[in-house]
């Protein structure tokens, strides 16, 4: 209320401001005061201050029928013209900025013969309500200014600065300093620092001052500092040193060098009053490139077009002016109203980074006018064709997942990144995988080229939690390419702890569900799976998948207590061969003759046998294994001719032909 006159109560302020401006998270009543906890978006650092919020309130509250007016504008009140210090320049300030890139404005002044003591009750209380510890009348002013105007400042003990010299420069990697919280740092390099000419670093700019020059009870001469810095350097230093100070969070958003002046003048006022000191140096103000106000042109019709409702132009102007913009109206009389109406909006310097184009102005109008005032309309319907491959991809993924779930499998979703150790344990070469350059953990360093690596780990992590495990994942794998993004390909991978034929049954069940039958099995050399307990899944002479037992040596590397069987299928194959149903066939209504034969399998492979049998007899409709004893299989053959009834003798003849062929 220092800045604002209003009839809105704190809870109304919370509700209304949150809807149209800064989000007020909580209101807490402490004694007679109310404390707001406010979330400020990163583009509105100008709002992260008591004054900034007051200015927002001035624009927003009237939309809700509340009175709100700024009592005064500190940016207009506190200017160098109104600086009350009349310096007796007994101290000389020697400031050099080595690289103007680093610091957009540098102001400083020495206040002498200060008396260090506790702050006034009002400053103490306001800081403490804001969760800032009150230290003394000098340091507190620095924090108070930050809260009031959103500009961090710093105070030094001037007598601790050797030769009264200050050189602002980039740090070299490995330079050492101790900040005033007692932490010692070996600097990462390229940090903005101030040294006193002897190599002693006195300030880690924008983050925290040095311990060697901090204000103590014995301080007599205070050096008062207000600057704006290059935000990129501040963020980098703050993140790499882990010094996430409040000052850093301000500076890294980029502050307005114009506001340095107000913060400086207000600060000097407060310092002189609180410490009884007097100015003892000239004012230093290095400001090589003055920040100019910029202008944005916006048509009234565009405001209406984007917001979707018509807002009276007087209201538009009032909203912008209350937010600190200057608005000049123009009209092209040749156009029908309101098409010719446009505004030339002057943007205050503290909004330079945030307001650039007409859409930014439209946003200001829209939010203060109130999003709650706008109707809800569904976007106009229009047909857009979804590419066929996308449609099939999502459809078959969904069908596969639900089928596998219904037959008792559990879906896992794993990170796309895996560890080097895991790859090596499963015989894979990490160097053939895309690698993250800034991973935060060894666990997630390489982009996987096989989902099996993750599922084997899942099995390992869940050993002992269930008697049997049957799990699957459908996800992309990432195959590196030359000078291009990796190929991203969907794969279905299943892992079970049961046995080979259980796994094969799952795979075939899925294929049946999706009506896919153009695949065969073939024995192939394979890396992950054991040679004699695995098979490749082939379609049109191309390998589209494989299934089998994880090699024993990998199982041992992973400390698996039982065998794991894995199936991997390229999802392309599934997606491209899926059909909603298989073609209709008339049911066979003629006589079906069943004949059994026991066959010695010592020299035979069942898959071959089956193939040969069907080739040998066109009356053969089905084959079923009914018994298995040692090397012998008892097989039941079903014979029928859909066009006429056959006799048992005819069937026997067919069987003999088959037995000869196999």
């Amino acid at each position: 209320m220092e800045y604002l006159e209003t009839d809105a109560d704190p809870y109304e302020m919370q509700k209304y401001l949150s809807l149209s401006g800064p989000s007020i998270e909580t209101v807490e009543k402490v004694g007679d005061d109310y404390v707001f906890d406010i979330e400020i978006t990163s583009n509105r650092i100008d709002m992260a201050s008591v004054f900034g919020v007051a200015q927002e309130a001035q624009a927003i509250l009237p939309q809700f029928g509340k009175k709100a007016k700024l009592k005064f504008n500190p940016l207009e009140k506190y200017t160098f013209d109104n600086l009350h210090a009349e310096p007796v320049p007994t101290h000389k300030l020697d400031v050099t900025i080595e690289d103007p890139e680093l610091c957009s404005r540098f102001t400083a002044m020495v206040i002498s013969d200060v008396q260090i003591k506790p702050s006034s009750e009002i400053i103490k209380r306001r800081l403490e309500l804001s969760d800032i510890r009150s230290l003394n009348n000098v340091i507190d002013i620095s924090n108070y200014l930050m809260l009031s105007l959103g500009q961090p400042t710093h105070m030094f003990d001037f007598d601790q600065i050797k030769d009264q010299k200050m050189i602002l420069r980039r740090s070299k990697k490995g330079e050492k300093m101790t900040t005033l919280d007692g932490k010692e740092f070996s600097l990462p390099g390229d940090d903005i620092i101030i040294e006193d000419g002897s190599g002693r670093i006195i300030d880690l700019c924008g983050i925290m001052g040095g311990e060697n020059s901090s204000i103590t009870e014995d301080t007599r001469n205070v050096l008062f500092f207000v600057q704006t810095y290059n935000k990129r350097h501040i963020r980098k230093t703050s993140m790499t040193t882990g010094q996430r100070t409040m000052a850093a969070t301000y500076f890294e958003k980029g502050l307005d060098p114009e506001r340095v002046e107000s913060a400086f003048v207000y600060g000097i006022d407060l310092l002189l009053e609180a410490t009884g000191g007097h100015a003892s140096s000239e004012l230093v103000d290095l400001y090589p490139h003055k920040r100019e106000e910029k202008k944005v042109k916006v048509y009234l019709k565009d405001i209406h077009r984007v917001i979707g409702v018509t807002i009276d132009e007087k209201k538009v102007t009032a909203i912008l002016e209350d937010l600190g913009f200057t608005v000049k109206r123009h009209e092209n009389e040749e156009l029908a109203y309101p098409d010719g109406v446009y505004f030339e909006v002057t943007v205050p310097t503290y909004r330079t980074d945030d307001v650039d184009i007409k859409e930014d102005i439209i946003e200001e109008v829209a939010r203060v006018y109130g999003y709650y005032n706008l109707p809800n309309n569904i976007s106009p319907l229009i047909y857009i064709k979804q590419p066929h491959d996308m449609e099939m991809l999502f459809k078959t993924i969904s069908k596969s997942k639900h089928y596998l779930k219904h037959i008792g499998l559990h879906e896992f979703i794993n990170y796309s990144m895996v560890s080097e150790e895991l790859l090596k344990n499963l015989g894979m070469d990490p160097s053939k995988h895309l690698k993250l350059s800034n991973t935060i953990s060894k666990e997630i360093e390489f982009m996987r080229r096989s989902l099996a690596v993750s599922l084997v780990k899942n099995i390992k992590d869940n050993q002992g939690k269930k008697d049997i495990l049957k799990i699957f994942e459908i996800a992309k794998i990432y195959t590196p390419r030359n000078e291009d993004l990796p190929e991203e390909q969907y794969v279905l991978t299943i892992a079970v702890t049961t046995d080979f034929f259980d796994l094969k049954g799952i795979v075939e069940g899925l294929m049946r569900e999706l009506n896919i039958n153009n695949y065969t099995y073939e024995t192939k050399e394979t890396d992950l799976l054991s040679q004699n307990t695995s098979t490749a899944i082939m379609s049109e002479d191309k390998q589209v998948g494989r299934l089998g037992m994880l090699r024993k040596e990998y199982a041992e590397n992973m400390a698996l207590t039982e065998d794991v069987y894995i199936a991997e299928i390229d999802f392309d194959f599934i997606q491209n061969n899926y059909s909603i149903t298989k073609p209709y066939k008339d049911p066979i209504t003629t006589a079906m003759v069943k004949l059994d034969a026991t066959i010695d399998m010592k020299e035979r492979v069942y898959g071959e046998l089956e193939k040969k049998a069907y080739n040998a007899s066109h009356l053969l409709q089905d084959i079923e294994i009914i018994d298995r004893y040692k090397e012998n299989l008892t097989i039941r053959f079903y014979f029928a001719d859909p066009s006429k009834n056959i006799t048992e003798a005819e069937a026997k003849h067919e069987l003999e032909t088959i037995l000869k062929q196999i």
Binding site: D354, I362, P380, I384, K405, Y415, M417, L434, N458, L469
Partner: protein
């Protein structure tokens, strides 16, 4: 030859003694069968004086009807007794059928796709390993934007592309915006992109990979009311008809204006109070849903679309987040979804 009356008495005696359906069936044949007693009697009709035949026939018919009825009655009684005789302990466990599970994110993705499909949004998929250009420049995020530094985005150890910059793991689904604009060449666009996203953040409540869903609508005369209405539609479909939404001002580089969407809390029904106490889940009755806004003109330009002719809206919400906010899910830590514990995952 017995009279009808005698026959009936005899039948009733026999019937009373019957206790099983089988003997009842035998009795039925004995009397009503082709060679049963009734038919036997009928054969005797020739021995009867012609003047009495009519009456004799009627009597036999009545008898036959009565016997039929009594047998049916008895059958019903026996069946009743039979079915109460059989008892099952119905509390014994049932035969067990396999019950698998899908990841919670799968259900969310299917539901979200369906909701948007109904209003004409097509689901698409784009690279998850992407060039910086699509993840940032095309989204109006200049090279000094904090989201582009090592602390916010995963980079790949790979030679940068001459025009498109470094290779990254998509930190948001918004990289699909430019991809879709390029694919179509010009509006109209109605796209939904649900994909994996990655951020270097891994602790008790954060995971380095999660899912987002992105909506993009670009056309002539698209305005804030369309964004508001479409998001409200989604929220009501996904969370329930009784839920309300609101937009609050926010900031994102790729939208202007930008908003944060809030939805009324289901615990306190948007009142902010539960039994007179402050609701612990929400802020004054509202929960944050995610970010949205009108597509920034620079983003349209980067996609070859004239921002003076077309406008659009976009949003990007967290899939896990909205799913965990759905009433009745009861899961409140995203990490559980990715720690790979079968005992957690099998529950869904």
């Amino acid at each position: 030859m017995k009279s009808a009356k005698e026959l009936l008495q005899h039948f009733q005696k026999q019937l009373a003694a019957i206790t099983s359906l089988n003997t009842l069936e035998e009795l039925k044949i004995e009397y009503l069968g082709r060679n049963g007693r009734i038919n036997q009697q009928l054969k005797n009709i020739t021995q009867i004086d012609p003047s009495e035949r009519r009456e004799f026939g009627q009597e036999l018919n009545t008898l036959k009807e009565q016997i039929t009825q009594e047998i049916e009655l008895k059958r019903k009684k026996l069946l009743q007794i039979e079915s109460t005789k059989q008892t099952i302990d119905t509390t014994l466990p049932a035969k067990s059928y396999p019950k698998g599970s899908l990841h919670l994110v799968t259900y969310a993705i299917e539901e979200i796709s369906h909701i948007f499909e109904k209003i004409g949004f097509i689901r698409m998929s784009y690279p998850e390993v992407e060039w910086e250009f699509f993840s940032f420049e095309a989204l109006n995020m200049p090279s000094d934007h904090p989201a582009r530094d090592d602390f916010e985005t995963f980079f790949m150890d790979y030679e940068p592309h001459k025009e498109h910059g470094k290779m990254v793991l998509t930190p948001h689904t918004s990289s699909g915006q430019n991809r879709e604009m390029r694919r179509l060449g010009k509006p109209p666009i109605r796209m939904i992109n649900i994909a994996k996203t990655y951020r270097p953040n891994w602790d008790a409540s954060h995971v380095p990979m999660f899912h987002q869903f992105e909506g993009l609508c670009v056309d002539k005369r698209i305005n804030i009311t369309h964004l508001k209405g479409t998001i409200d539609y989604f929220a009501k479909q996904f969370f329930g008809e009784e839920r309300e939404t609101r937009l609050r001002p926010f900031h994102f580089q790729f939208t202007e204006p930008s908003f944060e969407v809030d939805i009324t809390c289901d615990i306190c029904q948007g009142t902010g109070k539960v039994n007179g106490e402050k609701c612990r889940l929400c802020k004054q009755g509202w929960l944050e849903l995610g970010g949205t806004g009108m597509v920034h003109p620079n983003v349209l330009k980067a996609g070859g679309i004239d921002p003076d002719e077309y406008t659009g809206w976009a949003f990007g919400f967290g899939v896990e987040r909205v799913m965990m906010m759905k009433p009745g899910i009861g899961l409140n830590n995203m990490r559980l979804l990715y720690d790979g514990d079968i005992r957690v995952l099998e529950q869904f």
